[in-house]
């Protein structure tokens, strides 16, 4: 057993040696390990937050709605399209069967330099696009700082 031996305790006085109770200590550690193993989460789940309201949609009725340029990332079976209501339209085609995620990231970074304060962006997608590709696009959009992201189908 573990013990601490300290000089002294002579002359009929009480000994100052002390024993560390190792067995209860090991029991405690084993109980902690059992609890943590039972409650352990091996694949961490999280979420990407979006809304279905377009920017400015929930503005008060008594205030005139500010004319605002809306920025879109459209995911289609042929690739991404970055566009806005001012007429800008940038097509980012697929590389073969794979979406050009790095291209989208670069274009969003360029746009960020033009509008550093913009936080809103609308992601739209066509029918036939699989969910994983839309999540990848949303992940890139949030990663580039557009946290106020909306996901709406084109016709909604």
């Amino acid at each position: 057993m573990g013990g601490v031996s300290v000089e002294g305790g002579h002359g009929g006085k009480k000994s100052v040696d002390s024993e560390i109770p190792l067995v209860p200590f090991i029991d405690l550690l084993l109980c902690c390990i059992m609890f943590l193993l039972v409650t352990a989460v091996w694949n961490k789940l999280a979420r990407i937050e979006t809304n279905q309201q377009q920017p400015g949609q929930n503005a008060p009725m008594d205030q005139p709605q500010e004319e605002q340029i809306r920025l879109f990332v459209h995911v289609s079976p042929t690739g991404y399209t970055l566009s806005d209501t001012a007429g800008v339209r940038i097509q980012i085609d697929k590389n073969g069967d794979v979406y050009d995620q790095e291209g989208l990231r670069e274009k969003l970074r360029d746009r960020r330099q033009q509008e550093p304060n913009r936080r809103d962006l609308i992601v739209t997608a066509d029918d036939g696009v699989i969910y994983e590709d839309i999540v990848s696009a949303m992940d890139i959009v949030v990663g580039e700082g557009y946290e106020d992201m909306s996901l709406t189908p084109p016709q909604m």
């Binding site: 084993l30 961490k44 979006t50």
Partner: protein, 183 residues
């Protein structure tokens, strides 16, 4: 038959001298083995620290389903308590109750609401308002969809959720590398 104290019995019938000597003892090295407690405790402490660092209090909010593979994303936030709509390749469920068939939704191009889903979400919204009368309704729903599901199905589910007043959609994902995590 008289009773006598038992002696050493094991391995005594083997007719080999070195075995007999080893079994009898005879001043040889002892066979007791001490457990090395200090490395053992070090190992346990290391294990506890590793498990504590990987501990997640919000992990039980959402369970991974065997027939549903979620996509991976890096820029994510922690889960919160909300109704869970799951879309697997066969069915759409709300809190494990079946709402619609995925194939049926995918085959119809028209944007239509899923009546069962809208009704149940409206019920959940009313229940929430009764249980939390002073808190504003957040309108958040967690969407847990298989990564190969057509967006057409997701769109109909989102449309139905919006019809029921749930406009904030949280897409459940597996957290990939380099994520933000936490809010």
């Amino acid at each position: 038959m008289s009773i006598h104290a038992p002696g050493r019995v094991l391995l005594h019938n083997i007719p080999l001298k070195f075995v007999h000597d080893r079994v009898a003892g005879g001043g040889r090295k002892g066979v007791d083995v001490a457990i090395a407690l200090v490395p053992f405790i070090d190992f346990l402490i290391t294990l506890v620290v590793f498990l504590l660092t990987s501990f997640s209090a919000s992990g039980e909010l959402l369970a991974q389903r065997p027939n549903l593979v979620m996509p991976t994303a890096a820029n994510v936030i922690d889960l919160e308590i909300a109704p869970i709509i799951a879309i697997d390749p066969q069915i759409v469920t709300l809190d494990n109750r079946r709402m619609a068939d995925t194939q049926t939704l995918a085959s119809n191009a028209q944007l239509e609401r899923i009546e069962q889903l809208v009704t149940d979400l409206e019920t959940l919204k009313r229940n929430w308002s009764v249980l939390h009368p002073r808190e504003p309704f957040s309108g958040t729903v967690i969407l847990q969809a298989d990564r190969n599901v057509d967006f057409r199905v997701v769109k109909k589910v989102m449309f139905s959720a919006a019809q029921a007043g749930y406009t904030n959609i949280s897409f459940a994902v597996n957290q990939g590398g380099g994520g933000g995590g936490g809010e």
